[in-house]
Symmetry: D2
Subunit: 280 residues, 4 copies
């Protein structure tokens, strides 16, 4: 597994180049951000060089298409999707992710039908660029009733949706926070095949009843109550060898510097991955 | 367009053979029932002969698979689907239909994902036998809230679902009752392509506010308030040339004989299709 | 049916705007060219206005993607496909067409696998813009052996390929020349459903043995031996109400002016569609 | 990886039950045969018990559908497919395999289109029973020209076909003989993801020029020139943990007893998997 950073939880890093440097210095091997933005700044050759020099890959790009609103908005994003996918391919990135809100103001079955068709097309486009699409289920209770109707929020439901989308390159973005807020178990992870997982997020949760855990009030890995060591060991056990990225959404912008935050993140990863050293 | 009868609204006809005879005598050109049952009773050659002799075709078979419950129940119906599809093919029938309940006790988005995959498989199986799959949206208000969550009940939603299923041989079963209870207009029909329609049902509604119209309290064509003449003229206008079958669900079993009921049905069809005679 | 013109057979018309004017003056109702090019020249509002003022629609755009060569070339065309599809949608055009060469230097089964996946993606993209994709089989004998291996060239094979592509919005571009060189019959057309046909080409063939008919040596409608009146009557009979465009590929550039060539085309269409006036 | 036996190469074992016993005695963990046949003989409970008692699973069933001939023959096999898939599911088997002949008398592109649609349906049916479909490319030179036209025979072509079929549960049956006769390398295997491989066959080849290697003249593992140790180590390296079954097609029926042949097979496997013991 490769250790990665998203832009959530590391403060206001001034540029993707700087993020590559900071990640590399702290021993991270992947960063999650827009491949197109890096190429726009450095050119394709420059972007490749920058990543290679620092021994860092792009773990995942985000899906730059609005698939949750109108058909017009969806269509408007397709050119950007192609540009981002081409950029990702040029930089060797093979993952693209999006998240699923657990409730909706639309009639949920109708929205599911629309979203199935839209994500199927996104997956096919990504596929011709060699990318996979990861769908992230979102567990916190408060979001399940935030909008009028329930949508989906469990791993099982998401796997069933992936079946309905029916494209070979669609899988899970498995986020430890959403696994935890769903009451997920180690056995739930061990029932998966490694290739069903496109990408992984880790982050930690406060010691409050699980129904009170807020989506945007996360802790750094190892600072909370989630069994992250068990989580990553289960992933290793099933043969997952992709990127595990930290994603820390917080109520307030962190006051520490990016350097301090990334150091803190590194410490968290070290605690979580400690078992690896033990095994040697 | 061919005039057809379903088994709903003609009383207790003793056998499919008898239904063929009665339909033919009253000038109907199609009957909707199980092709397999007819073959089980008469053999393939006998069934073909019976239909040919009376100038009647099978308008549509029903989908003999439980796609609304568990995966196990779904799997258990696949052999029957293949047998029914093979029987339909042997008798020249090209349509298979099922209806969509407008509310559900399941989480509707999850159910939509499961149902999409299941109906996609049914459509593919039907396709290799030369059959199309018609999906019937169900409009009456009382059923929209009968189960816990809304599912889908409009033509537009159903067309979007057909897009999500993504198979070329899936279309609408357009039922005048459900069109009426959805506040459907002639223009709504005229926006369709003929090939989006797999099958058509007609029947009439009581003169009560549309929100009070009950799904199982229908009238014979021409005995109620639905503009059925406009409905079938719109179908003719867009080039629909398939079967239009009567389907009369009633609160109580009718007391008249099949002969009387079919005569009454014929009178209804004559009123609805009257414009055709006028035009000549 | 609407009478249409492609850019083949009308000489060097100086601009799409001029083609719209000439087509309109000669009583044509459709022109086949790039929607994007027209919008690039006139803006979206200007393009709409120009078409509306002259009572002409865009019958079909061409597929601006190289699906017959490498994956890289295919990917390079996807942005153009999205732009062209968006432009077509903005101008109300609903058809996009491409042709199938009947032989290939690639291993034909492998090429078929690659092309199936590529055209499936093109069809899905076109679908979200409300366009259909028409596949044109190509009949002339000399092209069947022009490259090393046979590919496909019959209507039946093309319909089977459309089944394999499996998208609801894919159908035939039925070209009279290819129908003729395949030994096609009126009955072959009458076996089709109107909605299986996305677009139609007409043009005529020299009075030579059918095996000698050259793809790029066509005559104007009514000047050769193809039963074009029977061809269009069969289309009318099955309810086809789309565009019928002339496409005249010739060995040498025509010496007549565009005005003369379009007049000649009009005379050809009048002969072919003569039966219509007779019926009234 | 689990060591498995197919029915090819072990002589005339009198029954599947006896094959389970012999396989188990020789330390094999999987047998490849019809799940339905075993259930027909022992009942579902009896079949499960027999397998469990001997510590053996069914590695793969064969695809019981004729997908290489007419549509009628294809349809005729669908009921058997459902029965076999249901039987496999009942016994915990998750793989179903079929092979691809490298040449054909049909027009290859047309056959590819037909076969794509047929195998797509097979894959979807297998999918609802929790099975994957493995496609085996066939490498020997003499078969590439045995029929009139080339079809496909390389791993790359087969992967492209799997993309065209487009179902998530389709992958490779990787047979060492076909890998060898294609000039396959260790690097070719290492480029695969484990989840692209549904099933594996091993067997060995005579020391003759690779173009002379006959499909039906195979040797037992370790008795020929294929680098089977490298082959299985590459599989282990990419994380393949499924079944590796022996499949020995020979010109003449072997004269040894099943007991002797299975002992010989065991010795072959021991040589091939020797590295495993070394590593411990």
């Amino acid at each position: 597994m490769l250790r990665g950073l998203t832009q959530e939880g590391i403060g206001a890093v001034e540029s993707p180049e700087r993020m590559i440097e900071l990640a590399s210095e702290a021993g991270f091997q992947a960063v999650d951000f827009s491949a197109k933005e890096l190429i726009d700044r450095l050119g394709t050759a420059g972007a490749r060089e920058k990543l290679a020099k620092h021994g860092v890959i792009i773990g995942s790009i985000g899906l730059p298409v609005e698939w949750r609103a109108s058909d017009d908005e969806f269509r408007d994003g397709l050119s950007a999707l192609i540009e981002e996918a081409a950029a990702a391919r040029a930089l060797g990135c093979t993952c693209c992710c999006t998240y699923i809100l657990p409730s909706t103001d639309m009639k949920p079955a109708h929205f599911m039908a629309l979203a199935t068709r839209r994500l199927k097309l996104c997956a096919q486009i990504l596929g011709v660029y060699g990318l996979r699409l990861g769908l992230e289920f979102v567990g916190p209770y408060h979001l399940r009733t935030f909008w009028k109707y329930p949508f989906i929020w469990t791993m099982e439901e998401t796997l069933d949706w992936i079946d309905a989308i029916g494209e070979p390159n669609v899988g899970l973005l498995l986020d430890a926070y959403h696994w935890y807020t769903n009451g997920g178990t180690i056995a739930d992870i061990e029932r998966l095949q490694a290739c069903q997982i496109v990408h992984v997020h880790i982050n930690d949760a406060r010691n409050v009843p699980v129904e009170k855990v807020l989506d945007n009030d996360r802790l750094y890995p190892g600072e909370g109550v989630i069994d992250l060591a068990g989580f990553v060991q289960a992933l290793q056990h099933i043969g997952y060898d992709g990127v595990v990225s930290q994603e820390i959404l917080t109520l307030h912008a962190p006051v520490e510097t990016p350097e301090q935050l990334i150091k803190r993140s590194k410490a968290g990863f070290d605690r979580v991955f400690e078992y690896k050293n033990k095994q040697i």
